[in-house]
């Protein structure tokens, strides 16, 4: 049966496009229960965007939670098979506290995870799918990509206390050059290293424009193979025709306790926060007793709700008013004729309060016709 795509909200149609995209690259849908053992989230609460979870006691006394996250469940329920990669996508609702309202929200989320023997191709594929996810949502999109391994190596080279290291990372995340400089001065970081950090904080742009400078900047400070691998990956995205969306930007910082390599964030014009977020999370895998690697991302569909171009001016194409004396069969026949070309119609005895229609008709019960009237 065909359907009218205009009935879908912006986030619903985006969800269908994204699911189709992930299926084309061999990702299979991962369906899961709405509930999960609360213990899973207590042990990994730093990984969650919000550590508040809706809990309840099951009939057998187990403490369960409405899942605030999908990734943890996928990791928990999978197992390592040497050399194998599990590629899954999900389209699920999660329940977490909104950092804006402070109240619990049901959030529709689509995403994918690539878990197992993750190689350079897998990372490239996931980044490509993240970029293509953004273009499936809007033609004005940016995918910022950073590398926590490189950032970590730079911070290690400074030999500063952990509190200063955390503050420096926060300053890089805010593109806060004045704070970065003040922290370096307070921690006796050399002028050369301070200059390197300042440039890393401001360096941003398309891979082909930025990578030569980044390589020159970091050579000698970070592991050579890590830098070369990042460079190859970024240039491969350009070769794949995604250079106009992808940007190198080290202000994307994640929790270094969970993420280790590539981290990324996606933006579309018209939405004030990132709509896509992801990265490599081998450290989380280790914390959960898994020995393999993983990379994935989530698209926050709730944020796309306001992205549709224009608010609706009308609630329907036509309103048909009828009387108590009218024959239901005559009314049904008139409506059938009116809706045949896709016109949306509401039949009612009186004009419904608060609703607007393009046209208004009154049923002529004797003739079986519709007379157009002023609304």
């Amino acid at each position: 049966m065909s359907y009218d795509k205009s009935v879908l909200c912006g986030n619903e149609s985006a969800a269908f496009r994204l699911r189709g995209l992930y299926r084309r690259f061999g990702y299979t849908q991962y369906k899961m229960n709405k509930f999960e053992e609360y213990d899973l989230y207590v042990r990994n609460k730093d990984f969650l965007i919000s550590d508040h979870v809706i809990t309840f006691t099951d009939t057998n006394g187990r403490l369960l939670a409405l899942k605030p996250d999908v990734t943890l469940s996928i990791i928990k329920n999978g197992k390592d098979t040497p050399g194998a990669v599990q590629k899954v996508y999900y389209h699920e609702n999660v329940y977490r506290i909104s950092d804006r309202t402070g109240a619990f929200q049901e959030i529709m989320q689509v995403g994918l995870e690539c878990i197992g023997a993750v190689d350079d191709y897998c990372v490239l594929e996931v980044l490509s799918l993240a970029a293509r996810s953004l273009t499936a949502i809007s033609d004005r999109a940016v995918l910022d990509i950073s590398h926590l391994g490189l950032l970590s190596a730079v911070l290690d080279s400074l030999l500063v206390p952990s509190a200063t290291r955390a503050a420096l990372l926060a300053a890089i995340g805010e593109k806060n050059l004045h704070e970065l400089t003040a922290l370096c001065a307070a921690a006796d970081v050399t002028a050369q290293k301070t200059a390197l950090l300042r440039e890393l904080c401001t360096l941003q742009g398309a891979p082909d424009a930025v990578m030569p400078r980044l390589v020159a900047l970091l050579t000698g400070t970070v592991p050579a193979e890590m830098l070369a691998s990042f460079s190859r990956l970024m240039m491969a995205l350009v070769t794949a025709g995604l250079g106009h969306i992808v940007r190198v930007d080290f202000s994307v910082v994640g929790d270094m306790g969970y993420y280790n390599g590539i981290v990324f964030k996606g933006f579309v014009e018209g939405v004030p926060t990132g709509v896509l977020s992801g990265g490599q999370y081998d450290k989380l895998m280790q914390k959960m007793g898994r020995s393999s690697s993983a990379i994935g991302f989530a698209v926050y569909l709730d944020l796309l709700e306001r992205l549709s171009a224009e608010p609706r001016s009308y609630d329907g194409d036509a309103l048909v008013l009828y009387g108590a004396e009218d024959d239901p069969a005559v009314l049904a026949a008139a409506l059938e004729q009116l809706t045949a070309d896709g016109t949306t119609v509401l039949a009612a005895r009186t004009l419904p309060a608060g609703l607007r229609f393009r046209r208004c008709y009154r049923l002529n019960g004797k003739e079986g016709t519709l007379d157009e009237i002023d609304a």
Binding site: V142, L177, R247, S251, F267, V268, E269, P272, T273
Partner: protein, 211 residues
């Protein structure tokens, strides 16, 4: 249609100084100086739209993306912790966040310290870093009166000249953090209007560094 860069300026003397910096940097909007009740001012040629906002609301406008950039005090940024870029310290609106207490107050580390403040997050973070247990008393105004009438032991508040403290026999016991006005940007907006934001930032930074 050309997309405009929306700028939230803090109402009051600080906002007027900030606007002067925009103007000097080559990003003026002459209609903003007209004496009328308009709320929004545009320079279509430069693609700029300015509006005045309550200073404590500027980070909300910027984080929510209705303003692409704005200027807010570091005190508000530390307290509200918006997810924005902090691009520049404007070096104006300087003051300090400090702990103040009655002149004769002697701190007993064995007791929970009662702290009255408008800036609960800043106070909590400050004492947490010291490992000190405190009881936060959140007030919205007239903070100085709290230790005088016994509501709190100390206050954490903004100190400019220190005159109000002195006149009420209070004194600064410790500086928490220096405060000044900061240029902030919405993260998503910066991705699509970054060139203009960078030009404005550079134009204002030249004045800050020249001071």
């Amino acid at each position: 249609m050309r997309s405009m860069l929306n700028v939230a300026l803090p109402k009051g003397r600080l906002g007027e100084k900030v606007y002067a910096m925009f103007e000097k940097a080559g990003f003026p909007c002459p209609s903003i100086l007209e004496n009328n009740r308009k709320l929004i001012f545009e320079n279509e040629e430069l693609g700029l739209r300015f509006f005045w906002a309550k200073p404590s609301d500027v980070p909300i406008y910027v984080e929510r993306g209705v303003a692409d950039i704005g200027v807010a005090g570091k005190d508000i940024l530390l307290e509200y912790a918006p997810d924005v870029y902090e691009l520049l310290d404007l070096g104006i609106g300087k003051c300090r966040m400090a702990v103040a207490a009655p002149e004769d107050f002697r701190d007993d580390p064995a007791r929970t310290l009662r702290v009255a403040t408008k800036f609960s997050r800043i106070a909590r973070n400050y004492y947490e870093a010291m490992g000190r247990e405190i009881d936060i008393i959140h007030l919205t105004g007239s903070i100085e009166i709290a230790p005088i009438i016994g509501l709190s032991d100390v206050i954490v508040d903004i100190v400019e000249t220190g005159t109000t403290l002195r006149e009420n026999h209070l004194e600064v016991r410790a500086e928490v953090v220096p405060i000044s006005a900061r240029l902030i940007a919405n993260k998503a907006g910066y991705k699509f209007k970054g060139d203009l934001v960078d030009r404005i930032t550079a134009g204002i930074a030249a004045q800050v560094n020249g001071n």
